[in-house]
Structure formats: C-alpha cells, structure tokens
Symmetry: D2
Subunit: 304 residues, 4 copies
C-alpha cells in the first residue's frame, strides 16, 4: 500500500489536528485515527471518526442523565447481558466511520450489509487508478470439493506464478484499453470506458456503520466461510473495535465468535450423552451433516 505525497500530506495534517471536546473520547482509538491499516496488496482501512464507547452503551441502556456507568464489573455484566440476549439497540448508539480501499469484488460482497452509509468514488466522475489486486502466491488455491464456495490447498509455486502472470497480463491490457479509450483518439465517456476493467481493480469509499450492525458484519466476514480477501478487511476492523469498546468486543468474542448455536435436537443429544444414555444419528432427528458437525464439536463418543 503506497500513498502519494499529496495523500500522505493530507493524512498527516489530519493527524496533527487536535481540539478539546466534551464528547466521550477513547484514548486508545484517538491514537489510531487516520493511519491506514494495510490490507491485501494495495488496500487499507483507516479510522476517520467514531461516536461513543462502552460507557455510551450502558448510558443509553439506562437512559441516564450523566455518564450512566457504575462500577466496571456492573457495566461489563450489563454489556454481556445485552449482547447475549439480543438487546441490540444500545449498541446502535455507537458509530464508526472508515475510509476503505478494496478490490471491486470485495466491495460487492461488502455492500450486502445494507444498514450502513456509503460514499464511493465514482468511475463516472473520476479516472480510476491503475491498481489491481494480485494475490500472494500462497493464497492462490484450488476449488474446494466439499465446500462449493471455498478454496482448498495452494497451487504449486510454478502454477501460482503462471496464474499471476495471466492475471497481470489481462489486467494490464484492460487498463491500457481504458487509457486509450479515454485518450485523444476516442475521448470516450468515462462511464463507458470503465466497463472493460476487471473486478480486481481497487475502489475506495467512506463507510459509516453503527456498532450493532458492525458486529454482525464482523461475525459474518471474519468467519472461516467468508472469502479470504474480505476476511483480511474484517480482521483489520476488528482490531479497531477491540481498542474502541473492549468490553463489548470481549462479549462479542465469547458469544458471537467463539460460541455455538445448538438446535433443539442437538441440545437433546448432548443431554442424553451427559446422562450416559446411548446416542445415534438415527434417533437424533439430525441430518448426517448436522450429526457429524455435532460429534466433531464436542468430541462425542459414538458406538459402532
């Protein structure tokens, strides 16, 4: 990830700014403002603004006149209770605003999270930069067989190199055509000239989202089933959230990320197993796929 001198100067000026405020502040997050967190080869996420804190969540939940916080232990307990029991509205009282740069195909997954505000650079107004995502060799992998939407082992170094060469060749040619179409020869409208550009081209946007919806984004996009390229961004954002609202992030890690949902039938199987009763897929009411997942999760002993 490289910034132009102009971009770097603008960024430095932002970081140099300082003012006093009566608003809640989070020192650990102030430290991280504006500085890009690199993601993939040319992308980044950087914090532009934030509203609220762990204290703002308990303050809203208590509709209080002052800070609303009590002892840390009570605040922590309240936040865990709210998160666990889907009392989601107090978490909406916090907002994060980010400047992000990512490949178009990542952007297309990202916007499926609709409860957020967004301003993207427009390829109708502006000429897009020549920046394409090219995976690191170890991230170039074959189609997974048992997971129709995932990838499995990496290609050999030779094959990866060949794949990268093909991607580079096509991307370069597409961008050359783009420049030629925009140039004096044709003077083609930007909104038309860009149609040839591939979805690994980088785009960028300002993105603002409340904490409740951000946690939902993180849960789905930090998940092992999410595509690696968007997971990189979710992981970077998660480090900001951990600094911003540490109590909430801890609860999120315990309940939403590290936790596991049990269906009615799965809970019954575990109860039987704990009581020493025999269990089997046939009598469980579970599909074979669900059964295997449960057995693996809890290292269940099954006869036969």
């Amino acid at each position: 990830m490289k910034l132009t001198a102009e971009e770097q100067a603008a960024l430095d000026a932002s970081r140099a700014y300082s003012a006093t405020t009566r608003r809640p502040t989070v020192a650990a997050l102030e430290e991280r403002m504006y500085t890009p967190l690199p993601c993939l080869d040319h992308g980044f996420v950087r914090l532009i603004d934030y509203m609220g804190s762990d204290a703002a969540i308990v303050q809203a939940a208590r509709v209080s006149y002052g800070e609303g916080t009590k002892k840390v232990r009570q605040d922590r307990g309240l936040i865990r209770y709210l998160l666990r029991n889907a009392h989601t509205s107090p978490f909406e009282m916090c907002e994060l605003k980010l400047h992000c740069k990512m490949p178009i195909f990542v952007a297309r997954q990202w916007v499926r999270h609709r409860t957020a505000s967004l301003n993207e650079v427009s390829a109708r107004y502006s000429v897009l930069d020549k920046e394409f995502y090219l995976p690191a060799p170890q991230d170039i992998a074959v189609q997974a067989v048992n997971n129709r939407q995932g990838r499995a082992e990496s290609l050999s170094p030779e094959q990866s190199a060949l794949v990268l060469e093909l991607l580079k060749r096509d991307s370069s040619q597409a961008y050359e055509t783009y420049e030629r179409l925009l140039g004096e020869e044709f003077g083609l409208a930007r909104e038309l000239a860009r149609m040839n550009l591939p979805v690994n081209l980088y785009t960028q946007w300002y993105w603002k989202i409340d904490l409740h919806n951000l946690l939902r984004f993180l849960r789905l996009r930090m998940d092992a089933h999410a595509q690696y390229e968007i997971r990189v961004f979710a992981d970077a954002i998660a480090t900001l959230v951990a600094d911003w609202v540490p109590l909430t992030f801890e609860a999120f890690s315990d309940f939403r990320v590290g936790g596991r949902f049990l269906s009615r039938h799965e809970a019954a199987v575990l109860r039987d197993a704990l009581a020493g009763k025999p269990i089997s897929q046939e009598t469980s009411g579970l599909s074979m796929r669900e059964w295997r997942g449960l057995v693996a999760s809890f290292d269940l002993k099954v006869e036969g």
Copy 2:
C-alpha cells in the same frame, strides 16, 4: 422543566468533562452539549453527542484523504448541489445523539421515523414519574373545520381553565391508582399497573439519527401541519442543527422549508401566466384545491 439535584449533578459532571481529540469538532455545538433545551411544561431535548460537520459532508462526497474541504464558497456550493439534487448519502455521514423527554402521544408520532436508534425508559423495569403534559391556556383550541387533523382558535380563558381542571383531575386520579396498584395492598406488576396511565404522561429516551434522516424529520415536524406539541421539539432540535452544520442548515431552509414543489400542471400554469396567456382552473388540469393553493402562493390574477 425541573431536574432533581442528582440529575443536575450528573449533568454538571458531563459538562465539566473535557478531553483532546483528533476528531472533527464544532465549537458552537460543544458549548451547547448536555444542557437541556426546555420543551412544553416538563420536556426537554439535550445534546449528548455528535459526529461530523459541514466539512465531513464534503469530505465524504469527495472520498478524500484529508479534510476534503476547499474554499468555503466551493464547499457551500457542493452542499447546496447535493441537497437540492437528492444526493443524500453524504448527509448520512453526520450523526446527532439526543436525550429527549416528551409526552407519550408525542413519542408515538416521533417513532414513526424509523431510521433512527432509540433507547426508551421501560415502564416494565421502572416506576414512572408523576409528570403530565398540561397545555398552556393559549394552546387549548377547538377542532379546525377545514383541516381534519388540526386545531383552530383558542378557547376562552374560562373554558381553557375548565379543560385544564378536567385533565388534571383525571391525570391525578390515574396516577393515584397507579401508585396504589404498585403499593403493598396489591404489589401489582409494573407492566400491568402502568396500563391506566394516560398518553400525556412524560416518557424519555436516547435518540440517535443521521443528518439526512434528521432533516426529513425536521421538514415534516416543523411543518405547520404537524401537531404543535411535536413542533416544539423539532424547533428546538433545529437550533442545534443550525449551530452544528450551518451551511447544510441554510440549504435546508432554502430548499426544503422555504421552497415549494410545482407539479407538471402547476409549472405549465405559471409559464402561461408569465407569457401573458389567460389561465383558468378549468383548463389547468388542477383540482379546485390545488388551483386555490397555486393562486394564493403566487398571487395570480385570474379573470372573472
């Protein structure tokens, strides 16, 4: 509007807090933080937090690395262009968080604006205070005849006094019953005991909304057709917005509040009138109601 000593102390502590921040700040708004703006007899609106500024709007619209602002005149022009042409997303980049206290019937109109975050005090958890809205005598008015949802001239002082007496009597009796049901005699569940309380009882909440949706709220609730009791709150919030984002508020005043929408047919009538052609309701394609509104708005001369 009166605060308890405890509430006032909490509020003072909030105002005394100060920290440095790298985030955008608006000095005029910092000054107004936490202090209640009284509304009606016991209600208020007070600013708890804000995110963004006029500069943040242009920064997002330009997806820039730094402040994104250019000369004030250019920023003003961009904001007016965005607002006029319904490019609403940059205005979503600003957020306002308020603590509000209002009668239940006002709260019921307020929540029709769904794109906002809300934490209200719960009558299942807490015992509600004995605070009822009683209109000022001059606001007690008869049903309007030509406006099925409005009010017309005020009652006589004697009649107003009698209305207030009736309202006070009923409210007091309802609250006495509430206290009795909650007391030792019955120990009734709070969620049941409250069902007797009238909709002029005060409730309160934390409310967070982005600037785009807030302007929509203001346009509808500052309008002469909105009920007076919610207009009071909208007007108070508008004074905060004017301090917070002056360029946006100016554009909003010109385009959304002071402006007027012309239908296809109305525009044609004006074009004819300006060209000196005869105009009439019969040939205009307008209903009599629309016609009268247009004639009054532009002081049109109509033959006959």
Copy 3:
C-alpha cells in the same frame, strides 16, 4: 372481540372475492384470509395479504428461471441450512400484511421492530372507540422479584376484582372526559382531547413485514420474557406463519425457538463434562448466573 355490522359486511365481501392468479399461492393460507384471530378482550390479528411461500425462498436462493424447487427433501435441507447459517436474504423475499388491533401499550412495544411498514388510525383525524383492555382475572399478577421486568403469581380473586374495578373506573372517567371535551361544550381539537386517554385503549393498524424480520419479531415476542399481552399476538401470528411456510416454520422452531446458544466458555464446560473431566463455576469463566443456567439446561452433575 366484536365487529360492527358494517365491519362484518366489509369483511365478508373481502372473503367472497376470488380471482385467478399466476402468482404462487398457499391454499392453507387462502382459507384463513381476512378472518380475525381474537387476541385479548377486544383485539385481533387478521391476514390481509401475503407474498411468497417456502418455494419462493428456495427459488430466490437459487436465482432460478422457474419454480426453483427440487425434491421436498432438498428444499427442506436448503431452508434449514439458510436459516441456521444466517443467510437471511431469501427469507426477505416473503411478505405478510396484517390488520391488527391492540392496546396502545402493546402497540408501543410492537413498533420497536422498525423494519416493517405501518399505517395506524390517527387520533388527530378520527374519534377513537371506547374500548379498553381489561386483563382476565387470572392474568392479574404481582411484580416478580428476581425478574425486574416480569410478573409472578396471580392475585387472589378478590384482589383481582378490585384491581379491575379501579381500572374500569379510571378508563370510564377518562373516556367520559374525552367525549365531553369533543362535544358542543368545548369542541376541543381531537389531537388535544385524546391526551387524557390511557394506554390500555385499543388502537389498530395495517402492518406489513418480510418473513426474515417477522421471525425475529416472533422469536423476541413469543419468548417467555416478553410481556404476556404482546405474546398473545405473537402466538396468533405464529399460527399463520406455520400454515404459510411450514418448512421455514419448522426450522425456526428447531433453531430459533427450541435451540440454545452456547458461549465459548459454556461449550468448553460441556466438552469437559462429556470427557468426564471435573467442572466447576470457579474454573469455568462463567458468572454464577450463567453457570446456574447451564447446569439447569443440561442437568449437569457438579461435585460438592
């Protein structure tokens, strides 16, 4: 619940209507259209319209040109997979439209579900009917001690009768005042006269919501922690959903209602218990409250 002759005639006319359509239909739901399901003493829920079916969910998930359904077993598997793994968008492809009548305090809980469309009768336009919710004697209960927002055992028949008498007296008086204020003596504006009416007065609305958000509503409002008076409505709506999308409703019952969420620490405790290792609250990382809940759910044997 009683309808006027006029209301009943309008309802009968709706039921008598029949037309042919190419749209997906659900026979079991057609049978239930327009007929009110009584809720509480004067309330109801009745089906006005619906869009989609279980088949529409799989069709959307597969973005198919035709019905998109395969064998029932595959469709059932897909629906369970989607619901379990929070692939929520296909469930948004179904819509339900209801006409509902409920006490104002229930309506106030109901609107907290913001992702829905709503048209409520206006007390500014119309004079409200004299219908107040009065609980059945067995539903009049004392405040729960260990659950700050709930109720516990019922009052004695004598006490219940007294409570009802108080509620009736106040409601009647409030309505008499309402009528007097609206009458010739004052001619008070409707928007003012209604401020005296208690929150157990009935209101009504049209409500439209997609299936994803409806399931969320049901999960929260059918829950034992929801207030009884809104649970009655949620339970009635659930019977419609069971007829409408039986495969989805089955999955919802297994995963969302009958299921249980395990935090990271809780899952670890179960793993230890299943492996025969000793478990204890002290080493579990759980709060005492969480620990007791887990032990009770799985009938865990704890030493000491």
Copy 4:
C-alpha cells in the same frame, strides 16, 4: 436476450400455472408475469410476484375492514394527496419482485438503493456465463464537458466499430483466462478465477422492493442524469408500474417526474415576475447556474 431451452421451459411452466386467490389481483399485471422485458443486449427484467394495488394503498391509508376504496375520483384524490405531501407509508404496502439480469457496473449502481431485498447469483458457487455488455454503436459517445458524469455526442461509425472491437477482444481474453484457470490445468477456486472478469459481464438477481422505495429508484434512475445503461432498466420497470398501480403512476408522473422544485429564492423571483416587477440575477440571491436554470424553465424575460 436469449434463454436456453431449459430456462424457457421453466418460464413457460410458471406462466401456465394458475390458481384462485382471495388476494387483490391486477389483471393487467397478471398478463405480464414471468415474461422477460429485454434490456440492453443480454439483459432483462421480469415480474416474479407482486403484492397490492392502488386499492391496497387507500385501504391501508384508511385502515379499513374491507376494500377501503370509495369512488374512483376520491381514491385518485387521496393517492395524489398522499404522494404530494410525502405521506409515504401507504405506498410501502405494495411490493414488487423482479428477476433482473444486467452488467455488473449497472448492478453496482443499482445496489445503492439499500431498502430492497436481494439475492444475486454467486461467483463463488457458480461458473458465470460468457455474456458481456457491448453497447449499440449509437450509444458509444464522448465524455461530456459541462457534465462531469455524462456523455455527449456519439462517435463516428468507424470509431464506434473500433471501440467495440477493443472491448470484445479484452472481454474474450478475460473469459478465456477465466475458463483456463477453472479448467484441469489449475482447478483454481471459482472465487479467485473470477477476479479477472470485467464489469460489463452480466450478473442476475432476484430483487424485491416496496412501491415507495421503487418510486424513489425510478425517479433517480429514469432521470436524464442517470447513466443510459441503468435508465433502460428503470424505463422497463416503469411500464410494469404503470400497469400495476395506474393512479399512483399518474401522480408520480405529475409530481415527481414532470414537476419542478422551487427554492425560496426562486419562488420569490417568479412572484416578482408575475407582478411585473423587474428581476435580475444580482438581486435574486441565486447563483448564476440556478438563475439560468430558472430563466430557461419558465422562459423568463430578463432585461439587458
């Protein structure tokens, strides 16, 4: 636009289906169900389902027990009143579900309308078809000078042919690479292989939206400032809306499409002009750009 035999058979089967329903139906729309409306070279929009009608809008606005409609003239008046005065909730009571196929760059503009439900084919699950948008020669145009986001006159036939050749060459090469990466040589994961494909590749989705939000989509995307390629889709959808809710569509055409918004200052200028007073840009408070627009719209006579 061509369908495979299998797709056509599925579509025919959908059209052959018929059932009786008690729900509101719109005969003119039933006739158009499932049949694709071709858009651009390979795209389409086709109606999958609908909920509601003009009558459903007035029924919801009146919260009625029966059809809720009165005489057509009254219904028309109510719908026009609601639309003009931004009483938007009754329009949310109608829903349209479409199956759409469009180039990725059009899809990217389309999703900016967030209040809609969406299921798109996944390039992680499925291999994408070899279908690229290539503009018709007359739609290949140069960059507009005075409109940074638009296009101006068409290229010469010779130049257009050359542009098309370049686009075809790059698209073909990209798709060849895609196939090669997916093939036996590499067996690359689909989620990676697709990153090379350009944004003129066609994608498809199911899209469901309520009428209020659909009208907003149409107003913005039928506008002359919208990119031609998305306008084609908006225009096609508009023909469905005209058949579905003719009274609403008429009001929309009068108020939202054919109408014009006047700012406070613009209204004042018109009032002066109608009163025979002199008008000028200097005294108007308008920018030169606003002034010129106003003068042109109303054919104003300006001295000097």
